[in-house]
């Protein structure tokens, strides 16, 4: 008799255990799905320029008023000094993309009114490609780019 109740008990426990396991699994699976769609929704995970712009909802037009200052030839690809400045009034956000990095979206700077629209920072540039800056002013986006050449070993051109 005792054995029977024990069996019943363990069976019940097994069932609840399974359901608990199931409910634990469910959010994990949901998370995995999120990660799949994150390719489009998370700009930091975007691997191409188009995806990153789409994820951020940016439609930018080329503008001479945005300036990207970076070396033509990177001496050290792991530390490339980049300055982004703009003469556009009311610049709110500055985005930096590096076109040939595994994840292109590199940085976003949100500026308050008193800050000059010019930011200096250093980036890793994996391969020869463009450093692209996008400036948001009002509802519009302006973009410009600068090609940076990366050589292995850091010599020659």
């Amino acid at each position: 008799m005792k054995r029977r109740t024990f069996l019943k008990g363990s069976l019940a426990a097994g069932v609840t255990g399974a359901t608990v396991g199931g409910s634990l699994l469910a959010p994990n699976m949901a998370f995995a799905e999120d990660a799949d769609t994150a390719k489009v929704t998370d700009p930091f995970a975007a691997t191409s320029m188009d995806d990153a712009l789409k994820a951020l909802g940016i439609k930018a037009e080329d503008s001479d008023k945005v300036t990207v200052v970076a070396p033509d030839l990177a001496e050290n690809a792991a530390v490339v000094p980049v300055e982004v400045k703009t003469s556009i009034e009311g610049a709110e956000d500055i985005f930096v993309f590096i076109s040939n990095n595994p994840t292109v979206y590199s940085a976003k700077f949100k500026l308050s009114e008193s800050v000059d629209p010019a930011v200096k920072c250093r980036f890793k540039v994996g391969k020869t490609g463009d450093v692209i800056a996008v400036v948001k002013a009002g509802d519009k986006y302006y973009t410009n780019k600068k090609a940076v050449k990366v050589t292995k070993g850091g010599c020659g051109g």
Partner: protein
């Protein structure tokens, strides 16, 4: 842990503008790099949020990815005055934080 990531901040008044320069000692791992000995991927470890404020008013917020260089550097100017209290705080993707404070001379 706090001492591992040193945050350095400079604030200097020049021609009516305050120049802010900051460097944080941080590895800024992208998560793409492999350990040469074991061949295993080094987990991503980078600063993803930086907030700079003056007198408790936010000046600049930066969202970063692993593409920012090791020991990241940041510099910008803002219209400020002597005596402004500058505060920089950052967070990384592994939950570490750091901050530095400076008064504009």
């Amino acid at each position: 842990m706090a001492k591992k990531f040193k945050t350095r901040l400079k604030a200097k008044l020049k021609d009516g503008k305050v120049n802010i320069k900051a460097i944080v000692s941080h590895p800024m791992e992208t998560g793409h790099r492999k350990d040469k000995k074991t061949g295993e991927k080094i987990p991503a470890h980078y600063i993803n949020e930086v907030i700079v404020s003056a007198n408790d008013k936010t000046l600049l917020t930066a969202d970063w990815s692993g593409s920012v260089s090791k020991n990241p550097y940041l510099s910008f100017n803002y219209a400020g005055k002597s005596g402004d209290k500058i505060k920089l705080s950052w967070k990384d993707n592994q939950g570490n934080t750091g901050e530095a404070e400076k008064t504009v001379k």
